[in-house]
Amino acid sequence: MKVPKSWAWWEYVLWVLLLASPLVLPERALIINEIAIVALFAVSLDLILGFTGIVSLGHAAFFGMGAYVAALFAKLVMPDPLLGLAAAIVVSTVLGAFCSMTIIRGSDLTRLMVTLGVGLILAELANKLDWLTGGADGLQGVVMGPLLGTFEFDLFGKTAAWYSLTVLLIMFVLARHLVQSPFGATLKAIRDNRLRAMAIGIPVTQRIAVVYTIAAGMAGAAGGLLAQTSGFASLDVFEFHRSADVMLVLVVGGTGWLYGGVAGALVFTLLQNVISAITPQYWTFWIGLFLVVLVLVGRERLLRPWTWFGRGGKA
């Protein structure tokens, strides 16, 4: 898989289209906002799953952390969205740095368990600390101030969509720089063969810890955006299906390719909206069926060949 260093023409077109989409489809702004958030979340997971080969079932921990921090910041400190987003990123980055200690050792199974456990602990905390988080009812009454002091968040989500898309673009550019830097090359080396990476002098544990921390910060930003644009944070943001969904998004779009997250988010969110409109209660069945078929048929045959990412996380 080769990504050109400079931006290809279709990348400019894609981003112009994305940024123009709230203007072209103003009645779909809420969905566009959702897609941008899911895409950001998926890109952050791609950094650790697709580029470093670490299987994580607890990425929702950082997403949820960002959501709660952003919501609490708006409620208790001040309603400015940008500062709230910054707070969400900072807190989830710190959490990620802390959690990175848990994933640098052990096998795939251990990592799955630990990442899952962190998510569960946070969900439990958010549930029990109800004086702060509202417990199972969720954190209500989050009112956001106008963006940059001028753009009000409206009911139709136009401002929200632009806000999320802009944050997505900035984060995407950062991630793109990251994976194309020498640092990113070492990550791919670790993914492909950890033992060999160690042998040629790459500080494997340190690199994994750093990329995990960065990914945590990005996931926190996605969560923060969700809380800010919906004015609400509930236990749902920590739930297992969030982690599973974002993994699915990434696999649909293709791992190890940053646009995979964006494409997957687009397909997944639209699919989810369509299917849950048809069968609101049982749409997980179709998602499950899709996953099973996807794995059995093989992504490389079902999707485009360049999205195929060879070795999984063989530790």
Binding site: V55, T110, Q281, L289, F290, L291, V292, G312
Partner: protein
């Protein structure tokens, strides 16, 4: 206090039966099967439906639950799981999550989302108390029953794995498939049988546990974490590891929920993370075991 210990042990034993099949598929066959809880749910629903609709006695339902989920496990192993043994762990995780989602939605669709209640026979409903004061030991008869069944199963499993011809074939197939096949062991059949027995045990655990744990369509998702903890903490190279881990987890969970109810399941998760950071391959793992 002893009552608490007793309940914890019964709970742990139950978790062990539920998780031991997972320990085999995950540890021995190196397949990350997150859908294990779905087999347990199938066993639970078989029991509930047979008792409610067909009026069968509880004791007859237990072996049927075992057979039903073992059969399902065998069919799925042959048709869906086998091609995935060689795939990367990410694929296995996605596949088994997909299966779990499907199982949850199907159970919801066909049986309904309400919690199912098991009517225990009269002789299992009682409770015996020994001693008094702080050292009083109250034993629910059903929990005694669970402990008895699980102890018997554990001894049988240990015997099969360590002493019988099938056990040595399984261990040989796990250590090196190609050499085992070269020695004339039919690896596919060995794995098929093992997977079926593992799923059957999960089904039996689900049937036994329906009364204690509760049974509704979210069962596979709710308890998946517990099975995984048992396997991850216990290590996957032996039967005793998961057994001790399950007992530890059971006692910690019951005691934690009794003494510090405010923290809920928090204790168990923290304990698991601490243990896994300390011993990433599990607590009871022999050196040089499969990783």
């Amino acid at each position: 206090m002893l009552t608490l210990l007793f309940d914890g042990i019964a709970y742990g034993m139950l978790l062990f039966i539920l998780a031991v099949g997972l320990a085999v598929t995950m540890g021995l066959m190196n397949f990350i099967n997150l859908a294990h809880g779905a087999f347990a749910m199938v066993g639970g629903y078989i029991t509930v439906l047979l008792m409610q609709r067909a009026g069968m006695p509880f004791l007859l339902c237990l072996p049927l639950a075992f057979l039903g989920s073992a059969l399902l496990g065998a069919v799925l192993e042959r048709s869906l799981y086998r091609p995935l043994y060689k795939k990367p762990h990410l694929d296995q995780v996605l596949f088994s999550i997909g299966l779990t989602f499907m199982a949850v939605a199907s159970a919801d669709y066909f049986i309904g989302s309400t919690q199912q209640i098991i009517q225990l026979p009269e002789w299992l409903k009682g409770r015996t108390e020994l001693g008094e004061g702080a050292w009083m030991l109250g034993m629910g008869h059903y929990r005694l029953f669970i402990i008895a069944v699980c102890t018997a199963l554990t001894i049988a499993l240990q015997y099969v794995l360590a002493k019988t011809r099938f056990g040595s074939r399984l261990r040989a197939s796990v250590d090196d498939q190609r050499v085992a096949a070269g020695l004339g062991i039919n690896v596919n059949v060995v794995f098929l049988a093992t997977f079926a027995v593992g799923s059957g045990l999960a089904g039996l655990g689900g049937a036994l546990g329906a009364e204690v744990l509760g049974l509704d369509p979210t069962f596979p998702l709710k308890f998946m974490v517990y099975f995984l903890i048992v396997v991850a903490v216990g290590g996957t190279s032996s039967i005793t590891g998961p057994l001790l881990a399950a007992l530890l987890l059971g006692v910690a969970d019951v005691a934690g929920k009794y003494y510090i109810p405010k923290l809920g399941a928090f204790i168990v998760y923290s304990l698991m993370i601490a243990i896994l950071i300390w011993r990433p391959q599990g607590l009871f793992v022999r050196q040089g075991g499969k990783s």
